[in-house]
């Protein structure tokens, strides 16, 4: 995307009918480290790659519990993500206080989307620079939504956002038809496989990723490191070099085909982005 004379204000249209500031905000999402979501009839799994600025620092938190039945994974400006998570938590708590019942996730994402839209139509605001994968339960089962800085939201069977997410999406596109009937364990396995795609050769260990699950009868929670490492070992998906050819059902990772959208990669990312 190149600079042009219509991209200074969010309230300026381009002659082609585009709002460049909003599109630039969506670029910020693509620069963040990958986040993946998948759902079955009864469960939603969120997974993300954890990047730390240096070996000395801790990992940036990218998965937030919003309520017992809703969680969110973010990519992009984590500060924006934190603020929106606080908003979502507030909405859930207020709803429960009035109705003693859980806020349906479908309604929460609409409220979130409306909040994002406001920032695309005020000259004194800027769009949120974060994409949110919202996973949750309501009366009609498990749902996964993607909320965009533009104020759009979509429901997905499976989705990936952030840098090198195309590799994960390619994997998910092959497998998604089976997700609806997947067991919880297989869903997590697929999430780990998809996550490994985004690492492009780097070894998948529990220290570089975070996995969270929510399901019918299972409150949203982040799996602890030992559990995740055990799952990785069990599925033998540690890395390309360790890919066991005899393992049934293990997909050979496609060659890192995606010469994908994050051209400079993460090294050039501004410190506020994750």
């Amino acid at each position: 995307m190149f600079r042009n004379q219509y991209d200074t204000d969010v309230t300026t249209w381009s002659p082609a009918g585009r709002l460049f500031q909003v599109e630039y905000a969506m670029e910020a999402v693509k620069q963040g480290s990958a986040a993946i979501g998948l759902r079955s009839k009864s469960h939603v799994v969120l997974a993300c790659v954890n990047k730390a600025n240096s070996e000395l620092s801790s990992h940036q938190k990218k998965i937030f519990k919003v309520d017992d039945h809703i969680g969110v994974a973010i990519a992009g400006l984590t500060a924006d993500g934190r603020v929106l998570s606080r908003y979502m938590r507030n909405e859930c708590i207020n709803y429960f206080y009035t109705y003693e019942s859980q806020l349906p996730v479908g309604r929460l994402v609409v409220q979130l989307a409306d909040k994002a839209q406001v920032c695309t139509q005020r000259s004194w605001k800027r769009p949120f620079g974060v994409g949110l994968l919202v996973g949750g339960l309501d009366e009609s089962g498990a749902h996964l939504y993607y909320n965009c800085p533009s104020g759009n939201y979509f429901e997905y069977q499976a989705f990936a956002i952030g840098s090198r997410s195309q590799a994960a999406k390619t994997y998910l596109e092959r497998k998604f038809e089976s997700f609806m009937g997947s067991s919880r364990e297989n869903l997590i396995k697929d999430a780990l496989f998809a996550l490994r795609e985004t690492l492009q050769g780097e070894k998948l260990t529990s220290s570089v990723c975070t996995i969270a699950v929510v399901g019918i009868g299972e409150a949203f929670h982040i799996l602890d490191q030992e559990t995740v490492q055990a799952l990785i070992n069990e599925f033998e998906i540690a890395g390309e070099e360790a890919a066991a050819p005899d393992q049934a059902g293990v997909d050979e990772p496609p060659a890192a085909a995606a010469g994908d959208q994050a051209a400079p990669g993460d090294e050039g990312a501004a410190p506020m982005d994750m």
Partner: protein, 198 residues
């Protein structure tokens, strides 16, 4: 069916049972104008709920809690809605029955009542209620309670409605009256066992 004006039973055809949305029914006692106001709040609530146009809907539990919040908040502002409410419904096979008072006291139970119903009807219900009552048996039991309340009220009209809520929806019967018998010997000399009272 009655609406009072002070101690006079002035309005004798007031509908105090109303459906709320697809799954619930509300019954009110007390100040009728406040009940009408509550119905406005509930109609707005259900309308907003429908306007989401998604697969979700507010069930009886949610409506009951909403009402509790409304009643309690008004009490805290020293401007109560002068009603006692009964809220029942069925959603996704789950049955629900609760009550809220004008000061926001709320609870669920297998049988609830307002006002004197708590003193005259609940004891009967405690003895005779069972989980597996049929609808007809339930009506008989409720009519027994209503008959006692009718006999013991110094200004009541023999006119009532019974409502039924199932998964399919809400039906409210047209008004009808109970068979009464006024020639019990106890009624002939009411102060027989308590000379001096009236």
């Amino acid at each position: 069916m009655g609406g009072s004006y002070g101690s006079t039973l002035r309005y004798k055809s007031v509908e105090r049972l109303k459906p709320v949305g697809k799954h619930s029914l509300i019954g009110a006692s007390g100040e009728i104008s406040d009940f009408q106001e509550i119905m406005r709040y509930l109609d707005d609530l259900i309308l907003s709920d429908n306007m989401w146009d998604d697969g979700n809907s507010l069930g009886p539990k949610e409506v009951h809690n909403y009402l509790t919040r409304v009643m309690y908040n008004r009490r805290n502002k020293f401007n109560p809605l002068w009603n006692s409410l009964v809220l029942g419904g069925v959603k996704n096979g789950q049955k629900y029955l609760g009550t809220v008072s004008m000061i926001g006291v709320h609870y669920e139970d297998n049988h609830v009542a307002t006002g004197f119903g708590n003193h005259l009807a609940r004891p009967l219900l405690r003895d005779e209620w069972r989980e597996n009552l049929t609808f007809e048996e339930g009506v008989i039991l409720l009519e027994k309670c209503m008959r006692v309340l009718l006999y013991r009220d110094r200004s009541a009209v023999n006119k009532l409605q019974i409502a039924k809520i199932t998964e399919e929806g809400v039906t409210i019967s047209p008004p009808y009256s109970l068979k009464t018998f006024w020639n019990f010997s106890a009624f002939e000399n009411p102060t027989h066992g308590a000379e001096g009272s009236w």
